[in-house]
Each structure stands twice: as C-alpha cells, then as structure tokens.
C-alpha cells in the first residue's frame, strides 16, 4: 500500500538485481548524476516531487544476494497513473533501469508492472510532505511567478506616474497569466 499526505503519494519498493545488472546500473546512475540529459525528461512531466534510486549490496555488513534496487519517490497522482505516465513517456529509460531486476514482467501492459511493484512495496509507516496540498505544477509556477514578481517590483520602483504604472502592471499580468 502506498502512503499519502494530502495530494502526494509516496512509494517505496525493492527489486532483486540480476547478475551483471549492478554494473549496468552503476554506469546508468553515474550517467544520470553527471549528464543532465539522462534525467531531464522527468522535469517537464511535473508529476514527481522527489525520487531516488539506491543500490544496496550490503545490509548491516552482510552481502545481499541478490543486490537490491531500492526506489523511493513521492508524486502527485496515484500509483497507476504514475506508472502509466512513465511507461508512455519514458519507456526506454524505465526499461533500462528495471529490466535488470528479477521477475520484471515488462513495462507494457502496465497492469502487470503495477502488480509487480505492489508485490515489492515496503510496509507503510508514516509519510510527511511539507506541501501536501501543492502539486509540482503549483510549486514550479509559484517559484517562477515569485521571481517575475520580484523583478517587476524592482523595475517598477522608479515609476511615479499612476497611469504609467497601471500600464506596466497590466503588461506584467499578461506575461505571468499562465502562472496565476
């Protein structure tokens, strides 16, 4: 069972990595950290707040066989929509990560992948989000708008005439309308 805080859903799941898979994942994750183009397609989706992949090869000093790929994420939609979105937009990226895992049923159809994720979820305990009612969209738009507003306040400070200010204000609103 995934956990929720307001509009946010949290997911934690583990999969067993096949022999050789950990080397591929090391390369892939190194590339993801150093080459922005690898993870960049996740940004415009505006669904994920945070996500992280962790490769566990030891637990309390004991070697894990198989190594475990731990995935933690929090996002705006429910799990089914989340997987559907990823499968549609990031098909090859998802395959390149989870095809290294045992018992991966394949990405499409997504209902089998969804069932596989559910089988490997951690037992829920507690989940907190600082912005439970804010979607990624709202947060990104707010950050953009706040920067634009600061710039407008600074640039309009020299305007003393009410009519000139009103014209500048209306131009500003037209520019930021999408973020309001």
């Amino acid at each position: 069972v995934t956990q929720a805080a307001g509009r946010h859903t949290s997911l934690t799941f583990t999969t067993g990595v096949r022999p050789g898979g950990k080397w591929w994942l090391r390369v892939l994750f190194w590339a993801g950290r150093r080459i922005p183009a690898v993870a960049q397609p996740l940004v415009p989706l505006r669904v994920i707040h945070h996500a992280r992949w962790t490769l566990l090869e030891r637990l309390d000093g004991r070697v894990l066989d198989p190594p475990v790929l731990l995935f933690e994420s929090d996002f705006d939609v429910d799990l089914e929509q989340y997987i559907d979105t990823f499968a549609e937009v990031l098909t090859w990226r998802m395959r390149s990560v989870w095809s290294t895992s045992y018992a991966n049923p394949g990405l499409i159809p997504t209902d089998q992948f969804h069932a596989w994720v559910m089988q490997h979820e951690a037992a829920p305990g507690h989940f907190y989000s600082a912005f439970p009612e804010c979607t990624v969209d709202r947060i990104v738009e707010s950050l953009d708008l706040a920067a634009d507003l600061d710039a407008f306040v600074a640039s309009s400070r020299g305007i003393d005439d009410a009519d000139a200010f009103a014209a500048a204000y209306r131009r500003f609103l037209a520019e930021v309308q999408a973020c309001l």
């Binding site: 933690e72 507690h126 600082a130 707010s142 009519d163």
Partner: protein, 185 residues
C-alpha cells in the same frame, strides 16, 4: 541544459539533500513499530511539520526483500529493517538536531525499536548512529530546485498576488498604484 553537471555530493540534487537510513529492528519489537508510527501524528497532522527544513519524510518497514527468482518471490529479511527516508535542506546533522529537539519523544518511540538506538537526548550520538546506517543514493532527482523556505515564500507570494489581482480589477489607476505599493512592494 548543460552537457555535464557540476560534481555534487551523491545524496544531493544541488539544493535538496536526500537521506535513506536502514536500521535493523531489535528482536521482538517489530509489532511496537506500528503503534509508534501512529504517535508521529497529532490532531494537526504529522509532527515533522515542526522541522522547517524537511521537504518529505518517510518511515517504513522492510519485512522482506526480493529473492533471486524469476517468480517475483520475496524472502523475509531477518531482522526486519526500519527505513527512514528524508529530503531536506542543509546539513544532515542540523536536521537531526532539530528533529530531536522538536519531536524527540515521538521519534524516540520509533527509533527505540531499532537495535543500538542511543539516548535521544544525546543528539551527537543519534546523528552518528543514523549516519552509520545511512546508505548513499545512486541517483537522486527533484523537479524543484528550491528550499522549503523559498517554496513557502513563493506560494505565499503567488496567493497574495492572486488575491490582489481580483481586488484590483475595480480600482482606478491611482488606487491601483497606491494599493500595489502598500501591499506588494
């Protein structure tokens, strides 16, 4: 988008830092954890709201781990492990110190179920214990590159401007000028 990212610590996306801590559950205390999780909420929600630099926090239990099998099987992990994950701003030690101060008793009830938990009043020992069990992320990702403080300020600014825009619709230019200067800046 640059071709190559600047080198940053493995648990950081530049602004937001990630931490995943895996703590072995002490013998016979697995059942206590579920009760302790409930204590992390009060009538206003999660107690983590008192820790201002935390974006998200999760506490979960890994009772089983995947087996080396093509049949989606899992095997019990002995002992089960408590997973404590966070995304936060600033230094791990500072966040842990704030947690111990602000929500110490409720967190202690959870952490005490893990083997080797030090006294919650000894912040240095707690930080060291958590750090010892911390596992580095292979790849962290955040859509938003901003601190909790900056996000709160931006959301508040947007709400303030939206409210102002609605009220300003019926203002004359002179009224608009004066009201904007007074309310927005």
């Amino acid at each position: 988008v640059p071709l190559i990212s600047p080198r940053v610590p493995r648990d950081s996306t530049g602004v937001v830092t990630n931490a995943t801590v895996l703590l072995p559950v002490a013998g016979g205390r697995r059942a206590e954890l579920d009760e302790a999780f409930v204590g992390l909420n009060d009538d206003q929600g999660s107690l983590f709201r008192r820790v201002p630099s935390v974006h998200t926090a999760r506490l979960e239990v890994l009772d089983s781990l995947p087996a080396a099998s093509t049949h989606a099987a899992t095997v019990p992990v002995d002992p089960p492990h408590l997973l404590f994950g966070m995304t936060f701003d600033g230094r791990f030690a500072d966040v842990v110190a704030t947690m111990c101060t602000q929500i110490g008793p409720a967190l202690a009830a959870v952490w005490r179920c893990a083997a080797g938990c030090p006294n919650i009043d000894d912040v240095g020992a707690v930080t060291q214990w958590l750090q010892h069990h911390r596992v580095p992320a292979a790849l962290p990702f955040s859509t938003r590159a901003a601190s909790v403080h900056d996000i709160r300020a931006a959301v508040a600014a947007r709400d303030r401007l939206r409210a102002f825009v609605v009220r300003a619709q019926s203002m004359t230019n002179a009224e608009l000028f004066a009201a904007f200067r007074q309310e927005i800046g």
